[in-house]
Symmetry: C2
Subunit: 398 residues, 2 copies
């Protein structure tokens, strides 16, 4: 046993030089630390720093000035330096259950908490993650339940002219139940997102695992596409190499992706054991993905029986760029004549798209098109989209 | 069109507040920038910084003092501040093709280049990634070739008593060729690693895609296990929640993982279309994974026809902790009597395990056990392990 221990010490030398520096070069501080009373302590080691702050969605919201007006931003709190040079801040209240993004600001400059290796990218921004269980957040945690499989595969897009990456969740039991066929939810991201967004920021695989294990959702396949048709795959997952993710990709919201959607459905249904019928297909998306879901389901009224619009970018289509966006009132009439099993709309009361969603609902109401509606507080944020997914999914394929 | 553009601007408001801050709060600097002459420029915006350095494996190696002696560390270079407050450094030479880890040091403190969202974790250390094509590194790039599927799934380990996560690469065509059966390479990580290591730092899926597309490797399935039997999954992919990844996990290198290996093979062969025969099974691993490969293949001599030891931790077993490690000379004799198709050893001349590997080769030589040997420069580093994988894989299943 002694031999193994000494070897383990020697094997530290066997790390890549970077990993070694991390071990030899830093004190072993813990950050974040979830305390027994539910508060959270953040620590940062930098004796030379002048100011250190933490900013995250668990701190009270502040109003931020932007070129487009005031906007809710996560609050900040100051870390204080102790005698040993370690900076520290403990929240004044227990942190409520949630999946939070946060980072440090050192001398006014954004930096990550490098003691926490749990990091997500949202568009072009990296942040640390803090996941606190309790309440709805228990759905976002990895629990001791059967887990589905998450696969990244590539389909050939005739529309795009190249192979494109797609993320697919298959529920626990898919591999062992060799004959069972499953319904499919197509789950679309927002502008700036890609086929990774619902997995990283959306916690889709955890939400599905937990809802299915609790018997609250049917076992289903979830297909997370990349809605930027000009793009092969998420940043650093495609052949262009190093890039800065941007919001403004070509061919976005000009009809091509929506028009190409049947090739995605065809690929999924020839690759996985699906029930290839309208009754077993759902489509939902957030923001631009809600816009996509609206137009795809209206243009292909025999394809989807369940539609979910999460903070959807309704009312922004340009009819001059694609026939996909034309005659939407006629298309909706035909879609609703076919009586979809569920048309679901969710929006936050502080969302900048609240008014346009209200206008859209007024149109549905005027035509007596039935839909379910959920209004939450907060704005155009992932917290809401996780809530909408967890609310929408139990209604599917009943 | 105008409408869409204005909407896109409005939709910036629709980002999570963190992503917004990234867009509104930072100048649009590019870092890293690969220049047309092959040099690379790094930039960092922090007017208040006193010193800014970049450290990475593309800079000349320096000797670093550690508790265990001197060790090769990546070099560092100083960034200089320009009039606008942006810090900048351009390499003096073109950077050779390679997959490099790097980060910044600001006022002596490690920080990431937050303009580069390409970040990897190695054990408990986060670093930025710089991937420069050319030479061997072209194998590490995502190329315009057919891509395999990478799946994360969970198998039930009777040995551990819980479900465990496993990463599986299936080659391009697996989904469409509904009947083809494939050989399998089991690919094991080192101490401190997990089922993600070969994908993130090892570039295994890119290496496989490219070698298969070039006709240099057979289409095969690659199974990347988690060799820490006490662990369900990689950090933040398991139910323990937030944790600091450590090197020293319980039940590591005490025989349990090696003993449990048949349950992994059984799971893979009942889940995927494999050729369930010795002739179609290979096992290889780096460092601790090489140690595992040695003992698993010797204890189950009818299981693997191909064995790869990459910088393997040979000669460190403690025979008192498990029968797996006992009578290894007898086990090797039986293994070699059965004439494995390939026994492959790779090591760097500067590796701290060089001497123990030499001792092991001397034993193989003394017994006239045939093996192939590759010696590279450098130490116990991922650069070597990517090279060994790319060299080993073309020799399999011929």
């Amino acid at each position: 046993m002694k031999k193994i221990i000494s070897i383990a010490a020697v094997m530290l030398l066997g790390l890549s030089a970077n990993a070694q520096q991390a071990i030899f070069g830093k004190p072993g501080i813990k950050s974040p630390e979830i305390n027994s009373d539910g508060t959270v302590t953040f620590r940062y080691s930098n004796p030379k720093a002048i100011t250190v702050q933490v900013t995250g969605e668990f701190l009270p919201i502040t109003k931020m000035d932007t070129p487009f007006g005031k906007y809710d931003a996560p609050g900040t709190a100051d870390l204080k330096q102790d005698k040993t040079g370690i900076w520290e801040y403990t929240t004044t209240e227990p942190v409520k259950g949630g999946f939070y993004n946060y980072y440090f600001i050192v001398n006014g400059q954004k930096t990550l908490d490098l003691n926490n290796v749990f990091v997500n990218r949202d568009v072009s921004s990296l942040t640390n993650i803090l996941l606190i269980g309790g309440g709805k957040a228990d759905l976002y945690k990895i629990q001791e339940v059967p887990h589905g499989t998450v696969s990244r595969l590539w389909y050939h897009s005739k529309t795009a002219g190249f192979d494109r990456r797609i993320t697919v969740y298959t529920p626990a039991g898919y591999e062992t139940s060799k004959r069972t066929k499953y319904p499919v939810l197509y789950l679309l991201h927002g502008i700036g997102g890609d086929e990774e967004a619902w997995i990283t920021q959306g916690r889709a695989s955890q939400i599905m695992d937990n809802l299915i294990a609790q018997g609250k959702a049917k076992a289903m396949i979830v297909v997370m596409t990349n809605g930027n048709i000009a793009e092969e795959a998420a940043p650093n997952e495609n052949a262009t190499g190093y890039c800065v993710p941007t919001m403004q990709l070509p061919k976005t919201m000009e009809g091509t992706f929506e028009e190409s959607f049947p090739e995605i459905v065809k690929f999924i249904e020839s690759t996985y054991r699906t029930i290839p019928q309208k009754k077993a297909r759902a489509i939902a998306g957030l923001s631009m993905g809600g816009f996509h879901s609206l137009y795809i389901s209206a243009n292909y009224p025999d394809m989807f029986n369940y539609v979910g619009l999460f903070s959807a970018a309704v009312g922004v289509s340009d009819t001059s760029v694609s026939p996909i966006y034309q005659n939407i009132d006629d298309k909706l009439r035909i879609q609703f004549e076919k009586k979809p099993a569920l048309y679901w709309i969710g929006i936050g009361s502080a969302d900048f798209l609240y008014a346009s969603n209200k206008e859209f609902r007024t149109k549905l109401d005027a035509n007596s098109y039935p839909y379910k509606y959920m209004e939450t507080d907060g704005g155009h944020i992932w917290r809401n989209w996780r809530t909408y997914l967890a609310t929408f999914v139990p209604l599917l394929f009943r």
